[in-house]
Symmetry: C2
Subunit: 210 residues, 2 copies
DNA sequence: GACTTAATATACATGATGTTCATTAGTTTA
DNA sequence: TAAACTAATGAACATCATGTATATTAAGTC
């Protein structure tokens, strides 16, 4: 299983330049108004070189997005009970949310612009799918496949929790990561398990309609 | 106060044609790859006519978005205690969420594409701001301006709830409004007040880490 | 029916795209 | 180290969407 296929260093260099240029440009203007011209100029490459590697702008954007997000998926994936690594699956799920925040922290520049409305819209939906899988996993591991016993349609429940997560991540990025990844992962887990009102300590002050 | 400034019927007609064409095109391809050419073709207008009313594509998109969302804001705004309308402010907030779902239901085609990743990214953030205002209003009216007493940073709390709302709305649209607006508004309120786990009836089955 | 203004038809300059090909420069390997 | 590959460059070209301008026609207003 050849993990790395010995890719020409010039290609790696070119790709890096193009992606760095993209991130730089995204700080100034939205992805729609960025041209291939501008990207290659900032990368100090010829426009022809761009077309040597990508079909068009969309292709380029999707490939660079997928590269980052596949790395994220790998990092966030719960460890398998492999041959050597003995069963350490205890707090697996909350760990995976911590890893999520840590990864985003390490790529904050990129995530901040890509999740803003200047970024590639597909990035948000891809992120949402990734988080949804983790949320789903957390639920399943807690309650099993119990589809029916719920008092609320399952997809509404999952969408509520998932989207809440994305929103908290965005507001964290917009605050320039005022809090630590560990703090955020903890608060997010509590928000979901106890509900926003109880976590805020407002359960007495608020009028519950039932 | 002249509410309507007697706008030429030809202009109204043109605008309607352009916007209808946009929605049609958005069902097939994403907003980025739609050209002014295509819009005017589908609208059966000249390209010159487009530039008689809008500076460019972005201007057109923003104006049509704002028109719809300003109407939404008006509908969702809690009724003032006006001269005539006596104080009926009882369940004001949950009513406003119901109105939100009803409005979206009436414009489902538009909201569905605009909130998807084919739509205008600014539409999502604008919607988020609108919902955030309502969420904020609901909290304030329940607990007052109590900034400090919270066990969690206020902006995290608000972001959590707000984004959860948007997510539920999106999943509802994607399911082609499987449930009624009243059902959705009710479930959403319960999800927030009781928390997702309690609403699902899972508080016994799940391991609470505290 | 006269006046006003929106829509059309047409043309034009500009700029980004995507493709091609000969040439130069950097990597690999024999 | 020289030969063989292959990536990057430079330049040219056709195509297409954009944005602007203007004279003409059609629709709405008074």
């Amino acid at each position: 299983m050849s993990k790395k296929a010995k890719v020409d260093p010039r290609i790696k260099r070119t790709n890096k330049y193009l992606r760095d240029a993209l991130v730089e440009l995204l700080k100034e203007k939205d992805v729609t108004s960025i041209t291939i011209q501008e990207i290659t100029e900032k990368a100090e490459l010829t426009r022809g070189t761009f077309y040597l590697h990508y079909q068009d702008k969309q292709d380029f954007l999707m490939q660079s997005m997928n590269e980052v997000l596949e790395e994220l998926i790998e990092k966030v994936k719960p460890k398998q009970n492999n041959e050597d690594s003995a069963a350490v699956e205890e707090n697996d799920e909350s760990v995976s949310f911590l890893k999520l925040f840590e990864f985003i922290y390490d790529h904050a520049d990129y995530f901040k612009v890509m999740l803003s409305d200047r970024g590639l819209p597909q990035f948000r939906s891809h992120m949402t799918e990734i988080v949804k899988k983790r949320v789903y996993g957390e639920l399943i591991s807690s309650i099993g496949e119990a589809e029916d016993g719920l008092d609320i349609p399952k997809d509404i429940l999952i969408s509520y929790i998932t989207s809440a997560h994305i929103g908290v991540i965005c507001s964290w990025l917009e605050s320039d990561m005022k809090f630590s990844p560990a703090f955020m992962a903890d608060k997010l887990t509590r928000l979901t398990l106890l509900g926003p009102i109880r976590v805020a300590g407002l359960e007495n002050k608020i009028k519950l309609p039932y």
